[in-house]
Symmetry: C2
């Protein structure tokens, strides 16, 4: 079974965390919530779903984990002002281990400067930002490019979870 | 006196609208609120400040106005998925009339593809997006580059309002 880091802070899109988290746990995978302050409880933007942050990005390293999940909402924009979170995300993508990105998650990948030449999808407001970062934006429910799996929005969750779960099982 | 368009929708940063709006009105300028639905009341993200949207971007043109104010918060990211708003912002910048941008407002300017070669500041999470759009990010309270006046955050509001007010008076 896999150990999955989730980078998360306040204003995350509730379903983009809860639905993959539930599926991963049901399959026996372990989740570790990485954020800005250990012990803090962060909340989703629509339902206020509470999530306990276990570690800061300074307290973890990529070798502790098998995969990374980045839920969307406004959480990625808040996380990307923290250099340790950005470094952790960059190291993850560079490691070749699976990275799961949905909705606004590409904002973190842009700041990690890991998108040049990659194929990715994401929330429609980010199309220009993604192109400017040197990536190819593809408008479909799931885009798989090497270790990077991405989706656009909560509507894509079933396909996103299927693709991520398959990747975890084959890792 | 000037007629100022304000592009705005839900989750705007309250003070980045209320403080410039109050100063502009006090000086005798007129504001017209342009958004996604005429007659809708949109609300700020912290204090829930209500603002009545008078026109959609389809119903206005740059020649109706003397200047454009783009408050920050999450409003710009919501507005930039609307092609008419993006076109209105692009036409405004291209017209040479004053454009006032604060905090997350550069997200709209990025989608309008008007930042290449410009000097601008904005919220710290956007530094990479701004650079990728071909602009020079300058970390100071107000940046003036031709018709474009920009600031970083609510903390910069006094200097931002002074610079914008001066520009309106000289326009």
């Amino acid at each position: 079974m896999s150990k999955v880091a989730v980078v998360i802070t306040d204003m995350f899109e509730d379903s983009e965390y809860t639905q993959p988290a539930e599926a991963f746990k049901k399959a026996g995978h372990e989740l570790v919530h990485v954020g800005l302050k250990s012990g803090a409880t962060v909340k989703g933007k629509k339902q206020g779903t509470p999530v306990k942050v276990e570690k800061t990005a300074e307290e973890v390293k990529v070798s502790d984990f098998d995969a990374l999940l980045i839920p969307g909402g406004y959480s990625p924009d808040k996380l990307r002002v923290n250099e340790h979170v950005v470094k952790f995300v960059k190291d993850f993508v560079d490691s070749g281990k699976p990275v799961f990105s949905i909705c606004h998650a590409p904002q973190l990948l842009i700041n990690a400067q890991v998108l040049k030449g990659r194929k990715i999808t994401g929330w429609k407001s980010l199309v220009q930002d993604i192109k400017n970062a040197g990536a190819q934006f593809i408008d479909q429910e799931v885009v798989e490019d090497g270790n990077l799996i991405s989706s656009r929005s909560p509507a894509d969750l079933p396909a996103f979870i299927r693709a991520c779960s398959r990747k975890l099982t084959s890792t």
